[in-house]
């Protein structure tokens, strides 16, 4: 039971890292970037190559995060920026196309086989916690997710830049009418979201293993997280990720026959009861 809870939490934190950028970007610009998962995979592969070259997981963490941030930023400047004024259908089609381009590129560059990204030696082995013995690396994943969530929360809720982002999510036009260059704010948020996707990719490497196509499953899960939590909301992404992580994990254990459907049942239930998601961006008390 405790083990399953920790497993669920670990998956939840990976999903949170992946979904939070997707969610805030969507909330800010109503922009759907299906290629977000591709940046997750990019982070993982760059991390893998970095470990192979340097032997250091920590360098991999840095390189994978940076690579996704840079490629995401270039994609935005070269292509996605132009899609902002377009219909959601076009955004979905173009970014869906990017998924396949990313997939092929990964096959060409890194080959078509799965490989485990070696975790850091420091975190090898297990730790006794809550009366169970649990892999230390997985505890690290949970801790990292919580730390990033806390940092993002502080940045979003307690700083002026965070206030600008929230204002943009509430009302883009009014934010611009106050002299704020909302396009630049969006770019920063977009790149940060991509960086977090890359970070999630490296961190997932030792757990999920790295292969071309590893983005597909998590992309779907992270879209479910965004829908359940409420687009544009950090708290929503956090709570949504925990729900999805737990349902996935416990579903596999208790109801393996219907585990795949459980998640969509959850999403349908949330959408029926609260179409804006559980914790949509919006009014503060």
């Amino acid at each position: 039971m405790v083990i399953q809870l920790l497993n669920g939490m670990q998956l939840a934190m990976l999903l949170f890292l992946l979904s939070v950028g997707l969610s805030v970007v969507f909330g800010l610009m109503r922009f759907v970037n299906l290629a977000h998962g591709t940046l997750f995979m990019l982070g993982a592969f760059v991390g893998l190559s970095t470990v192979e070259a340097t032997g250091s997981f920590w360098w991999a963490l840095v390189a994978g995060t940076l690579a996704s941030a840079i490629v995401g930023g270039l994609l935005y400047l070269g292509l996605l920026r132009r899609l902002q004024a377009e219909s959601p259908l076009k955004q979905v089609l173009v970014t869906f196309g990017l998924i396949f381009i990313g997939l092929e590129a990964a096959r060409i560059i890194w080959g078509d086989y799965a490989e485990r990204l070696p975790g850091p030696a420091l975190l090898a082995g297990s730790t006794a916690l809550f009366g169970v013995v649990y892999p230390t690396y997985r505890l690290f994943v949970i801790g990292l997710g919580l730390a990033v969530a806390a940092m993002l929360y502080f940045g979003l809720e307690r700083t002026r830049v965070g206030a600008i982002i929230r204002a943009g999510v509430d009302d883009r036009t009014m934010t611009a009418a106050l002299g704020i260059d909302i396009g630049r704010v969006f770019f920063v948020v977009f790149v940060l979201g991509c960086a977090l996707a890359g970070l999630a990719g490296v961190v997932a490497g030792p757990v999920l293993s790295v292969y071309a196509g590893m983005d597909m499953g998590v992309l779907v899960l992270s879209l479910v997280v965004v829908v359940i939590g409420g687009p544009g909301s950090l708290k929503g992404a956090f709570v949504g990720a925990i729900l999805v992580g737990m349902v996935e994990t416990f579903g596999q254990v208790w109801l393996p026959e219907v585990a795949g459907m459980l998640l969509y049942g959850l999403m349908a239930a949330v959408l029926a009861l609260r179409p804006q998601g559980l914790l949509p961006a919006g009014p503060r008390p």
């Binding site: 600008i164 204002a167 009418a177």
Partner: protein, 232 residues
Amino acid sequence: MSSAPLLSVDGLHVHYDRSHVLQGVDLEVPEGTVVALVGRNGAGKTTTLKAIMGIVRGSAGTVRFAGRAIAAERTDRIARLGIGYVPETRAIFPSLSVEEHLTLAARAGGWTLERVYDRFPRLAERRRAGGATLSGGEQQMLTIARAMTTGPRLLLLDEPTEGLAPLVVEEIAGMLRALKAEGMTLLLVEQNLAFALGFADMVVLLGRGQVRWTGAPAAFHAAPETRAWLAV
């Protein structure tokens, strides 16, 4: 008149899909004056302000502010040139606190927090409250104060007294008079004619997307256009 007006709009046309909402609007706002823009519901007053801010795009015409053509500029650039905007909807940010509204876009030369709280003690009391929890009057004070924190040279106000209790209207009117006394330039859309005529230096009457009359407030009621384009 030797110097050019701070704001001038010439031959401004705006279309929404197929409806031709502004059909060649001309108006001028000299520095340090208050110009009231009046007209029936649907005359195009809000659209005029939105076009000046670059929120809607004109299909023809020019807008000049402080000597620069701004009709093709982005909204945030127009705002940074020195135009503050108080929209009809107030556009309070529900997820921001009162104080965040006032620090979000603050720029040098604009009202400081102390100045806002001095003038609106109610906002000081509610500084931590969320934007969505404010009363209509508090929201209106906050929208005006928010615009003033950016240090504008010109303030566009879209029906700032609409839907407010008489006491609150008086409070807002008092603060607009104080702004005028300080030399602030205002373009004020107002349905409350008694207030508009008592306050403005010039009145521009808009009817079905065109300026039908421009003149001093004292001459407003005697003008034949007033009856044709304002009386319901």
